[in-house]
């Protein structure tokens, strides 16, 4: 109970407080700048598109874009809660519902790429080199070949389910057998697919930038059913008054403008263009 060496403890606490406060000032300088929160998908972030695109926009306007990269399902939910100013995702029906429900102002096409099926070189379903996505799914089901699904209600997962529906198959009945729902992001699902020699559906951008491909290759591509459209929406300030309308709209205008569309077009990885701009009649073009 002898109170000694208190200075030591006090010194430690003081050091911690000083460390914390200096660290805080650096953040304040961040927070002081203009910024918007962009709710978006893992495919656009993981492919490196934003690392290419956003610095150009920030340099021009002084607006920092803080990207929260999650699955489209979660991004839509977050944006509906008002936890973002702009939404950039790829699930057109869900986006249109988002606007119709009053959560978003208006939806604009931004760009597209396409989905591909990837699979192991052994190709147990015999679909390598084919084009018809629905036919390929039927073959996978018939062969009971392992298929890794996102299973997370993301844009890619919604698309995949639509294709299964078109094939007249309910793969969830085989969930845990050959149909494996990872419940994770695109990258984690690809890691799992490579690990268990399973087919998977992915957007081409993620696949090109993905580093753990093992000996997997693209097995199915080129079907118009595999078209992957991205849209951008301003979160509705009528529903969420804190939405940064001017800054958010500035981003949307820019991404739909010739300059923004050109920046999307110019992003290449390994010599390949990942996203194809297709904005039409956006406010930036008027």
């Amino acid at each position: 109970m002898i109170r000694i060496r208190k200075p030591l403890l006090t010194g430690l606490v003081a050091a911690l407080v000083i460390f914390a406060s200096t660290a805080t000032t650096t953040t304040v300088s961040w927070a002081a700048e203009k910024f918007i929160v962009l709710q978006s998908t893992t495919s656009t972030a993981n492919s490196g598109l934003y690392d290419h695109l956003l610095p150009i926009f920030t340099k021009k306007t002084g607006i920092e874009v803080r990207v929260v990269a999650v699955g489209t399902g979660q991004a839509l939910k977050n944006a509906a809660n008002g936890d973002g100013d702009v939404l950039l995702v790829h699930a057109k029906p869900a986006e249109e519902k988002f606007v119709a429900d009053g959560f978003g102002v208006e939806r604009f096409d931004v760009m597209y790429n396409d989905f591909v099926f990837v699979g192991p070189p052994s190709d147990p379903a015999g679909i390598a080199g084919t084009k018809d996505a629905v036919a390929a799914l039927k073959k996978i089901a018939a062969a009971k070949a392992p298929f890794a699904s996102r299973g997370d209600n993301s844009g890619t997962h919604k698309k995949e389910r639509a294709l299964w529906k078109a094939a007249g198959i309910d793969p969830t009945q085989q969930s845990g057998a050959w149909y494996r729902e990872t419940g994770s992001g695109m990258g984690a699902t690809l890691n799992a697919a490579v690990g268990m020699n399973a087919y998977a559906m992915t957007d081409r951008g993620t696949w090109i930038s993905f580093k753990n491909r093992g000996d997997f290759t693209i097995t199915v591509q080129g079907d118009k059913d595999l078209f992957n459209q991205y849209g951008v929406i301003l979160v509705n300030p009528k529903r969420h008054p804190h939405v940064k309308v001017a800054e958010g709209q500035a981003f949307i205008d820019w991404v739909l403008s010739q300059e923004g569309q050109g920046a999307i077009r110019s992003y290449k990885l390994g010599g390949q263009q990942l996203f194809f701009p297709n904005a039409k009649g956006g406010p930036g073009n008027m």
Binding site: R5, L16, V68, N81, G82, D83
Partner: protein, 235 residues
């Protein structure tokens, strides 16, 4: 597994090159977790000691409750803090979601029960030795709690370090409330999750190796300080 060799090489290269992005992420990790542990200790130490000393109905239940909360899943804490700070949530007006503050709060919530529960056990084991003497000296409950905390300070460091270990290692809470935003809320664990999802396993593992090294340094520093303090105390 060539990834292991590549990872060690990559870890060394990143540190040796003083990669500014890496050091920004390390600084943020330390800042978030150290502050969270500081808050958690400020609450958890007195709370645990009080729980050890006080006698009240339902105390047994409270002890079990805090012990159980040691197993609180980070992702659940993240979800609850998200729902509180979401614009649609009760504290949404504060605009704290996707900020460092929200991450500190989430980790503090996660760590407080760990420090409280470990403190409670430590103090309870010490109490019989002190109780009679303190009572003779006429110490009230407050003085008793403070005295026990002070005398157990070296052992309690381990409880605080356990809390720090939990905070610096968790990803589930900070990725939900912080959003893993580059240059704003990205910390070591969320960067590791991101690189794994990009399939860059060597870089992810390299970051993991660096994170473990940081935990070693922090623990080593604290233990070194403790030993010095002890020696000076007995001198």
């Amino acid at each position: 597994m060539q990834d292991f060799g590549a990872a060690f090489g990559e870890a060394f290269r990143l540190v040796a090159a003083f990669d500014p992005d890496l050091f920004e992420i390390i600084a943020l990790s330390l800042r978030v977790s150290l502050l969270a542990v500081f808050i958690a200790a400020a609450v958890g130490l007195p709370l645990g000691a009080t729980l050890a000393v006080a006698r009240f109905p339902g105390r047994g239940g409270a002890v079990v409750f805090f012990n159980a909360l040691m197993g609180l899943p980070p992702v659940v804490v993240g979800l609850v803090v998200y729902l509180l700070f979401s614009r649609a949530g009760p504290l949404g007006a504060l605009g704290l979601l996707y900020t460092v503050t929200a991450m500190i709060i989430a980790q503090a919530v996660l760590v407080t029960p760990i420090i409280a529960a470990l403190t409670r056990q430590l103090i309870e084991d010490m109490k019989p030795e002190y109780e009679e003497q303190l009572r003779v000296l006429g110490a009230g409950p407050f003085a008793m709690v403070m005295t026990l905390l002070w005398d157990a300070r070296y052992s309690l460091l381990t409880a605080v370090l356990a809390g720090f270990g939990r905070a610096i290692a968790e990803v589930g809470a900070v990725i939900i409330v912080g959003g893993n935003i580059n240059h704003v809320t990205r910390v070591m664990t969320t960067a590791i999750a991101l690189e794994t999802s990009k399939g860059d396993l060597a870089l992810a593992l390299a970051l993991g190796i660096i994170l473990v090294a940081i935990a070693l340094v922090v623990n080593g520093l604290v233990m070194g300080l403790r030993d010095t303090a002890k020696r000076m105390g007995y001198a």
